[in-house]
Every structure is written in structure tokens, then in C-alpha cells.
């Protein structure tokens, strides 16, 4: 196939590459080889994602028909700036976390089960990318469940007996969410006879008064909100993130909820349209307060966590609030802020979880108490953690700042000064919980015998991914032209679908 032919098939390749890798990981029996295969696949998928984004920015939105059948009967992949952006985030996080995973997995997962982890990882990636590229609602469900099932497996592979418990709890909530989504999709199908998003978008307005459509909206939104861990439906997340193997947590934190948010925004803005969602259904009346409550409550809870994985997990719940707040403000600035925060938070949170993975690798436990004196023992890791934390706080020149800038701007645009105030206040909470770690690491002397002897700097193969992300946090904080630019384009695309 020529290069142009490859370009034409990028949407399919983004799904096919990880999909083909998954069975290969099962067939290959040696963990080291499996990892190499998975890493190669992740990098390849990322390259595909880059190509996809470049193509969209160059040509504008385009459609790829799976199986060569035209929509609405065949399944089509519909690519615009938003999809391409999300695919880039997902594959990028995977491509960074996978190289990191080898050492981490060696330590945290039994050797003969490692292949299962890589297989599930690739399937999760397949599902997540699939959700992002497909233009068919039922296909979203299928990919959602592929990624979810793989994710449950991944979570259950964490150390200790808490891992299967967390996985099961996640499974229960995730299944309820997916089932809600499926019900909603079914109701829409019943009313319109279509599953294609673009087709639905055209067919819904004439029947927007139907109660079945309303119910469909509620079910779909509820289901995706569960998957996205929108406060107060977030209870599964800290347990799952806390129990999963470190590399998996980093991968999930950067991708899973974001893709769910993508799906939510896609359905709300593209399928139902902002007029229906926010006009008829008054969705923002619910979404904005919940997002804000999530930002505040989860941030506050994070402050009191002793386990750092759980702390960051609660922080994620808060950050999800930011992303959805942007959507709830229903403006270009708000959506841009929400979408760019998907990108920026992926950079920051993945860096932080990977840094935690380094600590877990050397120290074993990741509690605030076990950080004491670690600033000297693992200087590069801790520095990365602190810098990543700055991005989470939203200090200027870090990626996190860019998101907050847009969100505050969007809030002020609508004269919601108190929303702006909460957004900013929560940054201070983020400061407190990340600051606590920095304080312990640098200004608290190590308890004699508190750190194991092997607690020295993490190996280079783990540090490089961490610092790559830290560097990107600053790069995209200093020059946000690309990240914010594409997010803006995606936001305009979402809003443009309405008017």
C-alpha cells in the first residue's frame, strides 16, 4: 500500500493495530517479547493518531466506512478534530506508559500472568480508541465494553486481595453504566431506526418532544456519567485506581474517564445537540453544580488521603469536574477549556502516577508517611512528582494553567464569578494535597529504617517516560497553540453541529 493509501485507512488502523496485537501477545509466550510487541504496537498506534490529527487539521472532518457500506446501515468512523484529539491523548498516554510498564510490571505482577496484562492493555486501548473514532452509537457500546472488560481485568491484576474486590466493584458500576447507555441507545433506535450519530442528529429534532427520546437522553447521559466518574457517581474510581498495578493506573488515569467524557460530549452535543440537551433537558442546570461539587468535594477528600494513589484518584474525580464544567458552560471558551483539560490532565496525571510507579518500584508503599526523606533518595522522581503536581495545581507555564485560564474565562463570560471562584479555589486545594507530598519528601527527615535499602533512584527506563511527560507539561504550558488550538477547533465543531 502506498503512503496515501495508508493515510486513507488511518481510522481503521488506529483500532486494528492494537486489536491485532492483543492476540499476538497471547500467542507469544515470553514476557519480555510480549512487552516489546506491545510497546511497538503502542508507538505505532500513536503514530497513526498523529497522522489522523494531521489529516483532520489539513482536510477537515471526514468519514471512513467500515466494510464499505454507507451509513446508516454500515458502521462508519467519523473523524473530526475532537476525535482525533482524543485518540491522540489516549494513544499518547499508552505509548508513554507502556515503555514504563516493563520494570513496574515485573515487580508487581507474577511473571506467568504478565502476558495477560499486556493483552488486556491492548484490548483496553482498542476499545478506547474505538469509542473515540466510531460514528455509531451501538458500536460505542461494544467498544466501551471491550475496554471496560479489559480494564476490570487490568485492575484485578494489582497486588493484594483488595485488587479483585476493587475490580468487582468497578465492574458492577461499569456494567450498570454500560447497561444504562445501552437502554438509552435502544430507546433512540426504537424512535428513529438509526444508530448512526450523524443520522440520529438529523432525525431527533423533529421528535424532540417525545418522552422516549427524553428517556433515552437521560439513560445515555447517566450511563456515560457513571463511566466518566462524574461526581457523585465516582465511588468506583479511587478503589480501582488505587488497586491496579502502577503502570495500569497511569494508563487508565490518562485515558479511561477521558474517553467516557468524550463520548458524553459527543452524544450531548453532536447527537442530541446543545439546543435539546441544554434547552429542552436543561442539562447544564444539573451538570454545572455537580461538576463544581465534584471539584470541591473530591479535592477536599484528596487532601485527607494518606495513600497517594487514592489521593491522585480523588484528584482525578475533581479534574473530571473541570472537564465537564467546561461543557456545562456551553460556550466556545468553556468547551475549549474542558477539552484542553482532557489533554492537559492526561499529561499531568499520567506523569504523577508514573512517578508514583517509580516510588512503588523502589519503596513499595506510596503513603505520605513513606515519602519522608525521599527527596534525597529519589531526587529525579520526586522532582518530577513536584513539577507534575504544579501542573495539576495549574501554576502558570504549566499545562494545567491553560485549562484553568479558559474555564475561568468562560465562567466570567457568563458572569458566573462564583464558578470562577470555585475553579480557582480548588486549585488551592490541589496545592495543599500535592504540597503535602513535597513537604514530606524534602523537609521531613527519613525515619531511620523507614526506607528500604533499594530505595534509590528509579531506573532510567522508568524515569524517561516520567520526565518526557513532565517536559510536555511545561511545553504545553508555555506554548499552548497546538493543544488549545485543536481543542478550540473541536469545541467549535461540537457547537457548530447545532446551529
Amino acid at each position: 500500500m502506498s503512503a496515501t493509501a495508508v493515510m486513507a485507512h488511518l481510522p481503521a488502523l488506529a483500532v486494528v493495530v492494537p486489536l491485532m496485537t492483543a492476540p499476538l501477545t497471547v500467542l507469544v509466550n515470553r514476557p519480555a517479547l510480549v512487552w516489546r510487541l506491545a510497546t511497538l504496537s503502542c508507538l505505532l498506534t500513536f503514530a497513526v493518531a498523529v497522522g489522523l490529527l494531521a489529516r483532520v487539521l489539513e482536510l477537515g472532518p471526514f468519514v471512513y466506512e467500515i466494510g464499505g457500506w454507507a451509513a446508516p446501515w454500515g458502521i462508519e468512523y467519523r473523524i473530526d478534530a475532537f476525535n482525533a484529539y482524543v485518540v491522540l491523548v489516549v494513544t499518547g498516554v499508552s505509548a508513554v506508559a507502556m515503555p514504563f510498564a516493563r520494570r513496574s510490571v515485573e515487580r508487581e505482577v507474577e511473571r506467568d500472568r504478565a502476558y495477560l496484562l499486556y493483552c488486556a492493555w491492548m484490548l483496553a486501548l482498542t476499545g478506547l480508541v474505538g469509542i473515540a473514532v466510531t460514528g455509531d452509537l451501538f458500536n460505542v457500546f461494544v467498544f466501551l465494553e471491550i475496554s471496560s472488560l479489559a480494564t476490570y481485568v487490568l485492575v484485578s491484576m494489582g497486588r493484594g486481595r483488595a485488587a479483585p474486590l476493587a475490580a468487582l466493584r468497578y465492574l458492577v458500576v461499569g456494567t450498570v453504566g454500560a447497561t444504562f447507555f445501552l437502554i438509552g441507545v435502544g430507546l433512540l433506535y426504537e424512535m428513529t431506526g438509526s444508530l448512526n450519530m450523524a443520522d440520529l442528529a438529523a432525525r431527533i429534532p423533529p421528535i424532540a418532544d417525545s418522552r422516549v427520546v427524553h428517556a433515552g437522553f437521560v439513560f445515555i447521559v447517566l450511563g456515560l456519567a457513571l463511566k466518566a466518574a462524574l461526581f457523585p457517581l465516582h465511588a468506583w474510581l479511587p478503589g480501582a485506581y488505587g488497586a491496579a498495578p502502577s503502570a495500569v493506573t497511569a494508563f487508565l488515569a490518562g485515558t479511561a474517564t477521558k474517553v467516557a467524557i468524550y463520548a458524553l460530549l459527543r452524544v450531548v452535543f453532536t447527537v442530541f445537540g446543545a439546543r435539546f440537551a441544554f434547552g429542552t433537558m436543561a442539562f447544564d442546570v444539573l451538570l454545572v453544580p455537580l461538576a463544581l461539587a465534584g471539584i470541591l468535594v473530591a479535592s477536599a477528600v484528596a487532601v485527607f488521603q494518606q495513600d497517594l494513589k487514592r489521593m491522585l484518584a480523588y484528584s482525578s474525580v475533581a479534574q473530571i469536574g473541570y472537564m465537564l464544567l467546561g461543557a456545562g458552560l456551553v460556550s466556545e471558551a468553556g468547551l475549549t477549556g474542558g477539552i484542553v483539560h482532557m489533554f492537559n490532565h492526561a499529561l499531568a496525571k499520567t506523569a504523577l502516577f508514573l512517578a508514583l510507579g517509580c516510588i512503588a518500584y523502589r519503596v513499595g508503599t506510596v503513603t505520605v508517611a513513606s515519602m519522608a526523606g525521599l527527596g534525597r533518595r529519589m531526587p529525579w522522581t520526586m522532582a518530577a512528582f513536584v513539577l507534575g503536581g504544579l501542573s495539576l495545581v495549574g501554576v502558570p507555564l504549566t499545562a494545567g494553567f491553560v485549562s484553568k485560564w479558559y474555564l475561568v474565562q468562560a465562567a466570567l463570560e457568563r458572569d458566573l464569578w462564583w464558578v470562577a471562584a470555585i475553579v480557582l479555589f480548588a486549585s488551592v486545594l490541589a496545592l495543599i494535597y500535592t504540597g503535602r507530598v513535597a513537604e514530606a519528601a524534602y523537609f521531613r527527615p527519613a525515619v531511620p529504617g523507614g526506607l528500604p535499602d533499594r530505595a534509590r533512584e528509579a531506573p532510567l527506563s522508568m524515569l524517561v517516560p516520567v520526565w518526557l511527560l513532565v517536559g510536555l507539561n511545561f511545553y504545553f504550558g508555555i506554548d499552548a497553540a497546538l493543544s488549545a488550538g485543536v481543542a478550540g477547533e473541536a469545541a467549535r465543531g461540537l457547537l457548530g453541529g447545532v446551529s
Binding site: 501554576v395 470562577a420 479555589f425 504540597g435 506554548d479 499552548a480 488549545a484
Partner: protein
């Protein structure tokens, strides 16, 4: 090297130097040589820009467009020049002092100290050279974060608590209020550039401007207006060179400088002088001046007393900025310089006393003048300058501030300034008086001459001389301060 390049290099040099400082950590001599060399070159670079700015040049360079319409811009205007000069000069002096102090005090983690110190200077210079509100905010935060490890330096529970308060107040106000104000300003004005005559002039109505002003004034926690002053006394647990950095060189000065810049270039004096909120804030500054002085009087701990003194003195500058007259703004600008030299002298002295005698309380100092005559003489000089008495530089800034209150028709605030000077006398002068004329409580003080290490003494003598020199030659700084409001000055 073009002027713009010089600007960038001067800004980045301390940060780059910090890397070398960090790398040379295992060799204290190399480390300190690098520190001094970096400080010296930085001062030379900054000074080389002075003639350009004095001649009316406004070197400007856009580094990168972070967000659409929100670039990182450096621009050096007179007020910034003034601040940059003070900061870079005092860095040299403080570095000399720090070497003596840190070695004499056998501090741990000295490398971290020097690294953070250098980054802080970059932050301060960035604040001074910021061409728009966003850039200023960026470096304001850099400064906050880089000084946090310095405040927490000793790692004791008290130090960590102080660090928490420090970071908590400074970051929460800056992110919570200042950033909001900046975004709002952007929304109103469509840009963030510092504009002579005021970015917001003519674009905003009274009440909105009032709220914005409050956001800015309270959002700049480093200016330590009450009730946001708590971090400053708390931070006195830090080593003395850090106190110098906080109180004189960089941190609080960055705070009041920010308010001054906002007053002059964002609101513009015309708009500001009409704002009711500005008046109320000026009164709050007046209250802070008196209240902090009263608290200072009751503090026996020397550094705590000096810290409250700083709180009080900072509000002089706020007062000057908020009154928004030509004289008050000039006075405010000059007070940045004058207070810096006076207060750094006092802290150097306090540190020298601590290194030499391990004394921290005012009540322990009786009779110390015989043992440490040079230090106590310098303390007297610093005190007099802070009080505003001739023949020291502090007199000039107070003079212009007083004139400013009258220009603005605020006789009450003139009274505040007068009363405050008396209070200054009451809490500062007893210290050298006791030292020279008091009876030693401690037998060792009766012994012979025993000053702090040479580097410390040299530094504090230098700054004390600076106080005197500023009395004789205040013009360069007065010129810079008035240049900033030149359009206004001609219109009055």
C-alpha cells in the same frame, strides 16, 4: 548584544546559574564562586540597561504566545528598572552575607538554598521586567514556589508549618484572586499589556473597577496588607539571608511592585483616583501601618519585630500606589528602594547577632554594642532610615508619600504617617540604645570585640552605607519613579 537580548539574558542568567550551583554542590567553594559570579554578572547586565531606560527606551521582547492573545512578554519600563536594580544589587550583597552566615551557622542543604535563591532572583527580575499581567503573574508564582523551600529550609515542624502558611496564603490569594482579576481584565480589555495611562482606562465602570481593584490588592498576598500578612511573620523561622530576600530583595517588594504596576499601568492614576474602593483600600493600608507597628512594639523576638515592621512599611507603598497622585506614586516607588536598603541592613544585623551570639530576643541584647559595635552601628543606621530621619534615604520616600496624602486631600492619612513614624521610633530605636547603653545581662557580652564572620559584617556595612548614600543621591531613583507616570505628571 542587543538591548532585548540583554533583557532575556539578565532574566535567565540566575536560573541558569542555579543549575551550575546545583551541579557544583559537592564543592562549596566552587558553588559559592558560581553564585557570586552569577550575581555580579546579573547586576552588571541589569545596570547596563539603566541608561537605555533612563533615556526613555522601553526594551521589549515577546518570547512566546502561550495562549491566543496572551503572550509572554518582557518589557522594561522605569518602575521595573528600579525594582530590577534593587533586586540585582542586593542579591550580590546578600550572596556575600549568605556565604558567611550559612557557613558560620553550619546549615544543612546549602546547595538547595543557593539554587532556590538564584531561581528566586530570576523570578523577581521576571516580575520587574514583565511586559504584561500574565508574564508578571507567571514570575510572581515562580518567585513564590522558589522561595518556599527557603522558608521551610530547616525542616523542623515549625519551619514546615511556616512553609504551609507561606505557600497557602501566597498561592491561594494569587490563584484565587489575582488570576481571576487578570482573566477578568483580559475579558474586559481584550489584552493584558501594561499600558501607560491605564489598560482599563475608559473601558470599565466604577463598581466593576472597584471589585477588580480589590481582587488585585488582596490577590497580591506578597504585599502583606492586613489581614493577609500572617505569612510574613511566620516565615521568620527561615535563615536570615532568606529573611533578607523576603523582606528586602525580592518577595515583598515584588508584591508592592505588582500593586504599583497595576495602579499605574492597568488602572491608570486617573481612573484609580476616582475610585471609592481605592480610598477604602488606602485606609486599610493606613490601618495596617499603625496596627503592624503596634504589634511590632510588643514583639521581643527581634526578627518578629522586624517582620511586623515590614508589614507596616509595605503598606506605605500600597498607600502611595492607592492614593494615585504623582507625588504618592513617586514616593511609593522610592520607598521600595529605601525600605529595601534599610530593612536588609536590619536583618543582616539580626542575623549577625544570631551567628555570633545565638541571641534572638530583643531583651537579650543589652550591652551588646560593646561586643559588636559595627553591627549595632549599622542597626542604628538602618533604623533611622526606616524611621525616615536624615541623613538617610528613608527620609525622601516618606517626604513624597506625605506630600502625596496632601495632594489627595487625605489629611487623616498624613496623620497616620506621622503617628507611624513615632511608633517606628518606639520599636526600633530602643534596640541600639539598649545595646550601647544597657547593662549586659550575660557575662560573655562584657568580653571583648567579637563580630560575626567577615562576609556578614562586610555586607551589612555596605547596605548601611547605601542608606546614607541614598540620602545624598536619591535622584536616579526619583527620576525613574516619576518617569513612569510622566504623562500624568505633566498633566497636573
Amino acid at each position: 548584544m542587543s538591548v532585548e537580548t540583554t533583557l532575556v539574558v539578565a532574566l535567565l542568567l540566575p536560573a541558569l546559574g542555579s543549575i551550575f550551583v546545583g551541579l557544583s554542590g559537592w564543592h562549596p567553594n566552587v558553588r559559592e564562586t558560581v553564585t557570586l559570579a552569577t550575581a555580579g554578572i546579573t547586576l552588571w547586565l541589569v545596570a547596563s540597561l539603566w541608561p537605555v531606560v533612563a533615556a526613555g527606551g522601553r526594551p521589549r521582547i515577546e518570547l512566546v504566545e502561550t495562549l491566543p492573545g496572551v503572550p509572554l512578554v518582557l518589557e522594561l519600563e522605569p518602575l521595573g528598572m528600579l525594582f530590577a536594580l534593587v533586586a540585582s544589587f542586593l542579591w550580590v550583597v546578600t550572596s556575600v552575607y549568605a556565604i558567611g552566615y550559612m557557613r558560620g551557622h553550619h546549615e544543612l542543604n546549602q546547595t538547595r538554598f543557593y539554587v532556590c535563591f538564584a531561581v528566586s532572583i530570576s523570578g523577581a527580575l521576571g516580575v520587574a521586567m514583565a511586559g504584561n499581567l500574565f508574564t508578571l503573574f507567571v514570575f510572581y508564582e515562580v518567585l513564590t514556589l522558589a522561595t518556599y523551600p527557603l522558608v521551610t529550609h530547616s525542616g523542623t515542624e515549625e519551619a514546615r508549618r511556616a512553609g504551609r502558611i507561606y505557600l497557602g496564603i501566597l498561592l491561594s490569594t494569587s490563584i484565587g484572586l489575582q488570576l481571576a482579576a487578570i482573566v477578568w481584565t483580559w475579558a474586559i480589555a481584550g489584552g493584558l499589556d501594561f499600558t501607560p495611562g491605564g489598560l482599563l482606562a475608559g473601558k470599565v465602570d466604577g463598581p466593576t473597577a472597584g471589585i477588580l481593584l480589590c481582587l488585585y490588592v488582596f490577590g497580591v498576598g506578597k504585599a502583606a496588607i492586613m489581614p493577609l500578612h500572617r505569612w510574613l511573620p511566620a516565615a521568620m523561622v527561615a535563615p536570615t539571608p532568606v529573611s533578607a530576600l523576603l523582606h528586602a530583595v525580592a518577595v515583598v517588594k515584588a508584591g508592592v511592585f505588582t500593586v504599583l504596576k497595576v495602579a499605574v499601568y492597568v488602572f491608570g492614576l486617573d481612573l484609580l483616583s476616582e475610585l471609592e474602593a481605592g480610598r477604602w483600600l488606602a485606609y486599610l493600608a493606613g490601618f495596617t501601618i499603625i496596627a503592624a507597628s503596634l504589634i511590632a512594639m510588643r514583639k521581643d523576638n527581634l526578627k518578629a519585630r522586624l517582620a511586623y515592621s515590614t508589614v507596616s512599611q509595605l503598606s506605605y507603598i500600597l498607600l502611595g500606589a492607592l492614593l494615585a497622585t504623582s507625588a504618592s506614586v513617586a514616593g511609593a516607588g522610592m520607598h521600595i528602594v529605601m525600605h529595601a536598603f534599610g530593612k536588609i541592613t536590619l536583618f543582616f544585623c539580626a542575623g549577625a547577632i544570631m551567628v555570633a551570639t545565638h541571641k534572638t530576643e530583643v531583651s537579650q541584647l543589652a550591652g551588646l554594642g560593646r561586643r559588636m559595635p559595627i553591627t549595632m552601628a549599622a542597626f542604628l543606621v538602618g533604623s533611622l532610615s526606616i524611621i525616615g530621619l536624615p541623613p538617610f534615604g528613608g527620609m525622601w520616600s516618606k517626604w513624597f508619600l506625605a506630600a502625596g496624602t496632601l495632594q489627595a486631600g487625605e489629611q487623616v492619612l498624613l496623620g497616620v504617617l506621622m503617628l507611624s513614624s513615632l511608633l517606628n521610633v518606639a520599636y526600633l530605636l530602643p534596640i541600639p540604645a539598649k545595646a550601647f547603653f544597657g547593662k549586659p545581662t550575660d557575662r560573655s557580652d562584657a568580653g571583648g570585640f567579637q563580630e560575626a564572620p567577615m562576609a556578614c559584617v562586610a555586607a551589612l556595612v555596605l547596605t548601611a552605607l547605601g542608606c546614607a548614600l541614598l540620602f545624598i543621591e536619591p535622584d536616579p531613583f526619583h527620576q525613574l519613579a516619576t518617569q513612569a507616570i510622566a504623562p500624568l505628571a505633566t498633566s497636573h
